[in-house]
């Protein structure tokens, strides 16, 4: 297919349809409204279901219902709305229902503003709601990846029976870039034999979808079961089949300073690396494409070689803690952040690099 110039939010919508997603439940909030708008038009064309719910709380519970009945289903929102969805996400994780949740992050806390931000990193990577659980967190940095990771997100969700969070931001949602869209996939609602209403001949006596385990021993067993699943996922992302999908390394081999950033920041960092190299500073870039599981092993390996890390985020410093945990004191980890919706410029970051590698 020829490339199409699309907004990030719309690319997610089209990719979802191509991935066989036929169910969307959501509630309007800026800066992600193009996505529900797109799907409200697109889904009826493919006999899909679009419901504008009465709240984010309801929307995520509709996702829980549809996912538990076997649907390939998604919702989307932006930061304050994602906070509201946390209750449902916790239930979905507990009941092991696959789904895709998109967060087009905006400035917070509270109502904050509608400008791009990365201040939901902790919420995204630590589960977000109550209880011992994780969601797989994907962090695209281009419109193409918004589409690719949407499709991959549905696959991962089904593979691990786990919610997958696509952590984007206002810039990626709003920007247009050319996108290569893949061929559509078919998805059969009746393909999951654990699902409610499954009608296959191999159905168990009956199917239950629940996150309640009132007996302490049962809940402990369930939580260790979830933990083991997360361990399997972590291994697959650090040394298994998704290893290359999880992280992008750029000019790290000889780097005296490695810049670390995800999402839109990683694009700016790439420009900074180019500028550094022109000025004789050996800079490299590591971009986690998957934020949970975090590419800890990659950071550990690079900590053996490079002299410094500089983590750049559109927050007061959240992912920097994961980098520090990984580097574990071996090398200094510096941080530079802008928050409240301000995007750091390449010049500001270059200045920070200078302060570290050319302190005089």
């Amino acid at each position: 297919m020829a490339k199409v110039l699309m907004k990030g939010n719309e690319a997610i919508g089209e990719a979802a349809v191509l991935a066989g997603c036929r169910y969307y439940f959501g509630y309007p909030i800026t800066p992600q409204s193009e996505l529900p708008a797109y799907l409200s038009k697109r889904l009826p064309q493919v006999d899909g279901i679009f419901v504008q719910a009465e709240s984010e709380v309801s929307a995520i519970n509709m996702v829980y219902g549809a996912g538990s009945a076997g649907a390939r289903v998604m919702t989307s929102s932006s930061s304050p709305g994602i906070s509201l969805k946390q209750e449902g996400i916790s239930y979905i994780a507990g009941a092991e229902v696959p789904c895709l949740i998109v967060n087009v992050v905006r400035g917070g806390p509270g109502l904050g503003n509608i400008a791009p931000a990365q201040s939901d990193y902790w919420q995204a990577t630590r589960g977000g709601g109550h209880g011992d659980y994780r969601t797989i967190v994907l962090a695209p940095n281009s419109v193409q990846e918004m589409a690719d990771m949407t499709i991959e997100g549905f696959e991962l969700a089904d593979k691990f029976r786990n919610p997958v969070l696509l952590l984007s931001d206002g810039v990626l949602g709003q920007m247009m870039e050319p996108v290569d869209l893949p061929e559509p996939k078919d998805y059969d609602v009746n393909s999951k034999k654990w699902a409610l209403g499954y009608t296959g001949k191999d159905k168990a006596e009956r199917n239950l979808c629940s996150s309640i385990f009132l007996d302490v021993d049962e809940l402990e067993e369930h939580n260790w079961h979830l933990y083991q699943k997360y361990q399997v996922i972590s291994d697959l992302f650090s040394k298994g089949e998704f290893k290359d999908f999880a992280v992008e390394e750029h000019l790290c081999d000889d780097a005296e300073i490695i810049l670390v950033g995800y999402g839109i920041i990683s694009r700016i960092l790439k420009t900074v690396v180019e500028k550094c190299r022109k000025r004789g500073i050996k800079a490299g870039l590591v971009r986690p494409k998957v934020l949970w599981p975090f590419p800890t092993a990659v950071m550990q390996r690079l900590a053996e070689k490079t002299a410094n890390f500089l983590v750049v985020e559109m927050s007061c410093g959240q992912m920097v803690e994961d980098v520090k945990l990984a580097v574990n004191g071996k090398k200094p980890v510096y941080f530079f952040g802008r928050t409240g919706g301000t995007i750091p410029s390449d010049f500001e970051i270059l200045n920070e690099v200078d302060k570290i590698v050319r302190p005089d």
């Binding site: 519970n61 509709m62 996702v63 219902g65 649907a71 449902g88 009941a95 409610l196 009956r206 309640i212």
Partner: protein, 250 residues
């Protein structure tokens, strides 16, 4: 010898955990009977609430989802949209449906989701130990209204049937009780009607069952039914508030 009484197919063999005298067991049975009678057990999907009936899924012998507090109608929406052939219902108490889940029930009703809602109203939070519910009566003493519900600070009992009947979409909205055999039979009929309408694809049906909670009311079961008749029914009058298809006359 002809068997005249047996456990409905749709009920599992798990014994109820409900308190002595509690109405939930009977209401569960009425739901199970309706599903058996309509021959939809193989495609029935229930959504359990949070509250005393949180374990409803243990007592029914078909697919079940266990939802968050108040969210059952949203979950049921997702299930029904995915499985339009499923017979999807929620089973909710007054705290779940009329307090924390008000938005979900009103909007599921307003969208006219083709689901059935069984709303058990006993004017109190049972599972958490007897707190004031949105349907608690004025003057009713509960754990969190120790001086009696005061309308000035806690408002008046919410009448869900009346509210939902104002909406365009619902096809059947009725209030029943099981305080005596005659009313029990009416309740059975109402629940049957509600599921029948769903089976026929007619739309949203809502059955409120005014019920007792002997444990948290601090009364014996027999006294509880008397108290219900004398105190609850004047506030929550029985009857059908909406029946657009005329299912009751058919």
């Amino acid at each position: 010898m002809k068997q005249v009484f047996k456990r409905p197919e749709s009920l599992s063999k798990t014994p109820f955990h409900y308190c002595p005298g509690c109405d939930h067991g009977v209401i569960h049975r009425l739901v199970a009977e309706a599903i058996d009678e309509l021959e939809v057990k193989d495609r029935a999907i229930g959504v359990a609430p949070v509250g005393c009936s949180v374990f409803a899924y243990d007592y029914f012998d078909f697919d079940f989802n266990q939802a968050a507090h108040g969210r059952a109608p949203a979950v049921a929406t997702g299930i029904k949209r995915t499985r339009p052939d499923g017979i999807v219902f929620t089973y909710q108490g007054d705290g779940d449906l009329a307090a924390i889940g008000t938005a979900e029930i009103i909007h599921a009703a307003n969208r006219g989701e083709n689901i059935t809602v069984i709303f058990v109203n006993n004017a109190i939070y049972g599972m958490t130990g007897g707190q004031m519910a949105p349907t608690s009566l004025i003057g009713m003493k509960t754990q969190t209204s120790p001086y009696g519900r005061d309308a000035a600070t806690a408002g008046h009992p919410i009448k869900m049937c009346e509210m939902i009947a104002t909406l365009e979409s619902p096809v059947y909205v009725t209030r029943v009780t099981i305080n005596n055999p005659a009313n029990l039979m009416k309740a059975k009929k109402a629940i049957h009607n509600a599921f029948k309408l769903q089976k026929e694809g007619k739309g949203f049906s809502f059955v409120e069952v005014v019920a007792i909670c002997p444990t948290n009311w601090g009364k014996k079961p027999a006294d509880s039914h008397k108290w219900l008749t004398e105190n609850m029914l004047p506030v929550f009058p029985l009857g059908t508030f909406k029946d657009t298809t005329g299912v009751e006359k058919a």
